[in-house]
Each structure stands twice: as structure tokens, then as C-alpha cells.
């Protein structure tokens, strides 16, 4: 029983990271209809920012998260405004090509700056945790889960309660009608991409504390974000959060299968994704549009 509880906790804690990676990815996908293959690279840019601030200034990694968000928002805004806006209406293949190219460039710039050394943010409280009976809850992943939920809530608030957010939803619902009522399309797209990047930045900051990072460490996260968004359902922040937590749980339980079970953890997650696509194409919590 304690093993089961422990696995649920491990899964949920890992799921928090997947959720926060997923919400930014899902937002860009849902609104811009762009599957951003550079999302993982943006995550790692955030991770290096946290690492740099922690190493150079001794800043607590959790305090660097707002800075990650702001910096990545700016980077995302500029990227969309200068580059990706040009292909927003182009066929899907072009958006793949462009974001894949951005990914390659970003990874190689990171390689030039930081080289391929493995780095990790290890604050003094890293690895500490509380023990409830024989169940262990480590603090850093727990706080990361909290941050993830907070980021998701903030994003949902921005989307549903602010002018800029409502503009984003309007554009997502009907681009042409939104333009007719005076919404600046290019600006709204850029804000959307900026918000997505900001979420990626925060995710990166958390990831820098949880695993060792290299410039190429972001690639798996792009794939995981994709699965998370499909599992949860496109178009709602809460659905992506559920998708992220579900993915974390699936992974944890698949890894706990004795013997070589862990090898198939990804296969199981992807199998479930296909199953969801077949039976509930709108995702676990998604709405059909």
C-alpha cells in the first residue's frame, strides 16, 4: 500500500513539470495552430537562465522563476513578431520546418555559450524531504508542483479575465471576426507566443533543479508536451494540467513494472495517447469545437 501511495506521489510530482511544460505548448498550438517544435529549447533557455542566476549571484532558484518568465515572454514575443508571424497562415509543414529550424539554432547557440557540460542547480535544500511514515515527499518537486499549478491558474486567469487574454480567446475562436472588431492580430499572436514561452521558461527553471541539463535536454520535453496536450485535450488550461498529471502517473506506474517494464514507459504513454485519440479525440477533458 505504501508503495502504491509513494508511486502516486512520484507520478503527481513528475506530472507537475509535464503540466507546466504542456500548458505553454498547448496555448500556442490551440491559438496559433502551430506545433512549436522549439518549445523544448525555450524550456532549456529558462533552465540555463536559472542556472546562471543561481551560479553567478547565488539567487535562490525559485526566486529566478519570475525572471525566467519575463525574459522568455520577451524572447517569445520577439520571436513571434519577427519570425513566426510570417508563417502563421502557411500550411502546417512550414510551421514544422520553421520551428524545427528555430530549435536547431537555439540549441546550437546554447552549445556555443554553455558547451555540452551537464549542469544542475543544487541549492542547500536540494534532495531534502518530509517522511510521512515510509512515504517520502521531497520538497523541491513538491514546490515545483505548486508552482506549476500556480502558473496554470495564472494563465487561466489571464486568458479569461484580462483584455489581452480575451483577445487571445477571440482570435482562437475566429481569427477574421476578431480582426473585424479591431483586435490587433499580430500583437495578439505575439502575446500568445510570449505567454507560451513564459510558461516554458518557468518550467525550465524548475527542471534545472530536478535534473541535469545540457543544451539538448529540451528535446524530450517537446514530445512530452505534445502527448500531454493530446491526453488532456486542446483548448483549456485545466485540461492540459490533467493531461500532465495523468502522464506523470502513467509514467511512474509503467516504470514500476518489474524487470524491463520501465523500458516501455514511453510506449505505454504513447499507446494511451493513441487510445485517447481513437476513443475521445477531444482529449480527457477537452471540448469539441
Amino acid at each position: 500500500m505504501t508503495d502504491f501511495v509513494q508511486l502516486v506521489i512520484i507520478g503527481l510530482l513528475a506530472g507537475g513539470i509535464y503540466a507546466v511544460v504542456g500548458v505553454g505548448f498547448g496555448l500556442v498550438w490551440g491559438v496559433l495552430n502551430i506545433v512549436n517544435l522549439a518549445h523544448g529549447a525555450l524550456v532549456i533557455v529558462g533552465a540555463y537562465l536559472t542556472w546562471q542566476l543561481f551560479t553567478s549571484f547565488g539567487l535562490d532558484p525559485f526566486l529566478t522563476l519570475p525572471l525566467d518568465a519575463v525574459a522568455l515572454f520577451a524572447l517569445g514575443y520577439l520571436l513571434q513578431r519577427s519570425l513566426i508571424n510570417r508563417i502563421v497562415r502557411a500550411p502546417l509543414l512550414f510551421t514544422f520546418l520553421l520551428t524545427f529550424g528555430v530549435n536547431l539554432i537555439a540549441v546550437n547557440i546554447l552549445l556555443l555559450i554553455f558547451k555540452s557540460d551537464f549542469r544542475s542547480v543544487t541549492p542547500s535544500y536540494s534532495g531534502q524531504g518530509m517522511e510521512l511514515g515510509s512515504v517520502v515527499i521531497p520538497y523541491v518537486p513538491l514546490a515545483s508542483l505548486g508552482v506549476s499549478l500556480l502558473v496554470a491558474a495564472a494563465l487561466a486567469f489571464v486568458l479569461n479575465r484580462t483584455r489581452a487574454g480575451l483577445a487571445i480567446l477571440a482570435v482562437a475562436a475566429d481569427r477574421d471576426a476578431a480582426q473585424l472588431v479591431g483586435i490587433d492580430l499580430r500583437h495578439t499572436y505575439a502575446v500568445t507566443f510570449g505567454l507560451g514561452a513564459a510558461c516554458a521558461g518557468v518550467a525550465g527553471g524548475l527542471i534545472a533543479m530536478i535534473q541535469a541539463i545540457t543544451p539538448t535536454a529540451g528535446e524530450p520535453y517537446t514530445l512530452q508536451a505534445f502527448v500531454v496536450v493530446i491526453l488532456g485535450g486542446l483548448g483549456r488550461v485545466s485540461a492540459t494540467v490533467v493531461g500532465g498529471l495523468a502522464f506523470g502517473l502513467i509514467e511512474a506506474f509503467a516504470q514500476s513494472i518489474p524487470g524491463s517494464g520501465s523500458v516501455f514507459a514511453n510506449a505505454i504513454a504513447f499507446g494511451l495517447m493513441v487510445l485517447v485519440l481513437v476513443t475521445r479525440p477531444q482529449g480527457l477533458l477537452g471540448r469539441l469545437r
Binding site: S120, G127, Q211, T214
Partner: protein, 409 residues
């Protein structure tokens, strides 16, 4: 230094021209020997590949200072042509073929990793050009009957046997092992080596768990290890996984008397990433800066460490990836000298007959082409510094045993 800068930039093409232009000496100068090496300069293996390149370049500097490789009294300058295989084994094979056909490489140096080495070995064999490699330890590479691939490193199944040997000498003697392994060929061979060997030393493998190669979240695996409460936690994987397991072990409060990982702890990144949590971790190492071999040529161990630190002042001591990569160049150099010819088949035969001791240890190949004659050593990180702790004949410190529990560090 001209070469140092260029080497760091990784502009192999420029090196080729630079070497050709500067190697004039009093003695007769022969044609330039071109060595080809695809390396993962980008991608997931870029760290290890960079270390490999450092090892190759260190030898290149030295041989260039000597005026080149001496073949029958004629000194042939050497260049190494690198390509970036983006850490992909398939790409590595494509580039290996390109090195042979387009760049007319005389001989080949290995890529990083068993996967790429395996695909490249097939290319070397097809073209009958010798490849000396230092970073593919999976025995599956050498069980194909290839005649042109030679590995200077100890094979995969030996990686953690030193740790098992050491464990058998410790008091109180540990008895149970939890074996975690990535699912790539090399890692599985390392793990199988332990599973076969441990019972002969009175140790019992109570858990064997495979995980996906390259995984960064191994908490559930560590949890499974914790459930069997082992004396020894062994991991067979690479640097990223070693860091992930160590982090998860602390978080989940998995306490064991020995934590030993096949690959990872020997690199400076392991200590940089984990800080004090890296302490007490053991690894099986091909070579350490503390070993005491008497070389027949090239640098002594101390000179080698000094030369490395001079060329790469920010990197600390050379780790074994660097040393074994240099050793591959030395094996090739000595074989060319012994063959007294640049003919690939003659050099191949000279490699097969090679038996020489270098700063890296003995280099001699069995009939399959792998160096089973050099022992592995065991390192432990003590207070943030690598120490060789086993075998006693080359050790510079005692093992700090048992590893204290996470709460008491």
C-alpha cells in the same frame, strides 16, 4: 597555441591545412597521414565526444611536435579530420564512409559510444581500413568477426567487476546488489557482467531493473531499489542517468553501503552538478590520473596530466575518456611504425600483433580486437575529489566505507 585554439573551435578542416603547412623539419618529410573521426560534437553525446576529441587532439599536438609518425625513417605529418555525427550512430556511419571515399582517410579513429562504434566498425570492415577506437566497449561490436576494428579499452562486462572485487574485500562485507541498467547494448553488457560475476564473489543480485536509455526521471526505479534494501546500488548507464539516480536516491532516502555507477562519476560534470551529494560515489574507470604504469613511449602519467592541464586549463584533471582516446592514437601510431608502411592491411596486422605499455596501461588486443589485458580501476569521490581506491597496487586512498546515510552527511 595555434593548434590548441583551432582544436577548441573544432574546425577540423582548418587543422588539416594548418598541420600540412607547419610540419617542416630537417629529416625527410613524407605524405600527410589523414585520420578520420566522426564525433557527436552536437547532440546527446556531445560532452563525451568533446572529451574524446580532447584526447585525440592532445596526441595530435605531441606527434606534430615530433614531426609526425616515423615510417621507415620518413616522418609523416598527421592530420585528424573530424565531422559532427550529431550523436547519431547512422549519421556516424555515413560520415565514416565519406571520410574514406571523399577525404581519403588513411586510418580511422573511433566515434564516441558503442552504438556509433558498432555501425562504424561495419564501414571500416567493408573498406578494409583499420579503425582504432577508444569509446565503444560493448562486446557485441567485437563478436562480429571483424578484422579491422580495435578497441583499446576494457570491454563492457569488466566495467563494474572491479567494484564487485573491491566489495568482497570490505568489512562488514556487503552481500546484496540492486542492479539498475539503461537498455542500450553497452549498459546491458555491463549489467550482465555483474550478474554473472557477483555470485562468484559471494554477492547476490536481488534486483535487476532496466530503464530507457537517456531517461532523466528515474525516481520510480530508485523506489524499486529501495524496496529491496540493498547493500550495493549499481547503475549501468551514462552520465545523465547517473546524475538522475543519485538525485533520486537522495530524495527518496535510498541508503546503501555502496553507490557505484559505470559511467558518469569520473567526469567533472558529475561533481559540478551534484556538489556534496557526489561524495562517496564509486565508479569503474578505465584509467585515473593516479595509476602507476611505466610507459614505453609518449608521456608518463604525470606528464600527460600536465600536458592536458596546459592545453585545457579550465577542465581539471583529464578523465578516462580523454586518456583512452589518446591511447587509441598511440596504438595506431605504434602499429604504423611497426608495420613500416601505410598499407592498411599491414597496419591492421601490426595492430593485431601489438603489445605495448603506455601511460594508459597495456595495449594488446585479443583475437576479437578488444583489449582485455588492461585492468579496470575503481574510483571514489571523496570530499569533491576523485581518488583511486582499488586495486590497492594503484590506489592513492582507502575506500570511505560504508557510505553514511543521507541524513548523516
Amino acid at each position: 597555441m595555434k593548434f590548441g585554439k583551432l582544436g577548441l573551435l573544432g574546425i577540423a578542416l582548418v587543422i588539416a591545412f594548418a598541420c600540412g603547412g607547419t610540419s617542416s623539419s630537417g629529416t625527410t618529410t613524407g605524405s600527410t597521414i589523414v585520420l578520420g573521426a566522426p564525433l557527436g560534437l552536437t547532440g546527446s553525446l556531445s560532452k563525451e565526444s568533446a572529451l574524446t576529441k580532447e584526447g585525440y587532439d592532445l596526441w595530435l599536438d605531441w606527434i606534430t611536435k615530433q614531426g609526425g609518425i616515423n615510417v621507415n625513417g620518413v616522418k609523416h605529418p598527421v592530420t585528424i579530420k573530424y565531422y559532427d555525427d550529431t550523436s547519431s550512430a547512422n549519421q556516424s556511419a555515413v560520415l565514416m564512409q565519406k571520410l574514406i571515399t571523399e577525404d581519403k582517410a588513411n586510418f580511422l579513429l573511433g566515434p564516441y559510444g558503442s552504438a556509433a562504434t558498432a555501425t562504424d566498425a561495419a564501414i571500416a570492415e567493408q573498406n578494409q581500413i583499420p579503425m582504432v577506437e577508444a569509446n565503444g566497449a560493448a562486446q557485441s561490436i567485437f563478436n562480429q568477426g571483424y578484422k579491422y576494428t580495435f578497441g583499446v579499452l576494457s570491454p563492457a562486462n569488466k566495467y563494474l567487476q572491479g567494484v564487485v572485487d573491491m566489495a568482497a574485500t570490505l568489512n562488514p562485507k556487503p552481500t546484496t546488489i540492486a542492479m539498475l541498467s539503461a537498455d542500450d547494448n553497452f549498459s546491458l553488457e555491463v549489467a550482465q557482467g555483474v550478474i554473472d560475476y557477483a555470485p562468484t564473489k559471494g554477492l547476490q543480485v536481488v534486483l535487476f531493473k532496466k530503464y530507457k536509455n537517456g531517461a532523466t526521471n528515474l525516481t520510480a526505479e530508485v523506489q524499486a531499489a529501495k524496496a529491496v534494501n540493498p547493500d550495493i546500488v549499481l547503475n549501468s548507464g551514462h552520465l545523465a542517468e547517473a546524475i538522475a539516480i543519485n538525485k533520486a536516491a537522495k530524495e527518496q532516502k535510498l541508503n546503501a553501503k555502496i553507490f557505484a555507477y559505470s559511467v558518469g562519476p569520473s567526469t567533472p560534470d558529475f561533481i559540478n552538478s551534484l556538489a556534496a551529494d557526489a561524495n562517496f560515489v564509486y565508479d569503474g574507470s578505465q584509467w585515473t590520473p593516479q595509476v602507476k604504469y611505466q610507459p614505453q613511449f609518449f608521456y608518463t602519467v604525470a606528464q600527460y596530466v600536465a600536458a592536458y592541464k596546459q592545453k585545457y586549463p579550465t577542465e581539471g584533471d583529464p578523465d578516462y575518456h580523454v586518456a583512452e582516446s589518446t591511447a587509441a592514437c598511440l596504438a595506431l601510431q605504434r602499429a604504423i611504425e611497426n608495420a613500416k608502411s601505410l598499407d592498411p592491411t599491414k597496419v591492421r596486422d601490426a595492430l593485431a600483433a601489438l603489445d605495448v605499455t603506455t601511460f594508459y596501461g597495456q595495449i594488446k588486443f585479443d583475437s576479437r580486437g578488444i583489449n582485455i589485458y588492461k585492468p579496470m580501476v575503481v574510483e571514489q569521490i571523496q570530499n569533491g575529489v576523485h581518488h583511486t581506491v582499488y586495486p590497492a597496487s594503484v590506489a592513492d586512498a582507502q575506500p570511505m566505507y560504508p557510505t553514511p546515510s543521507w541524513d548523516q552527511r
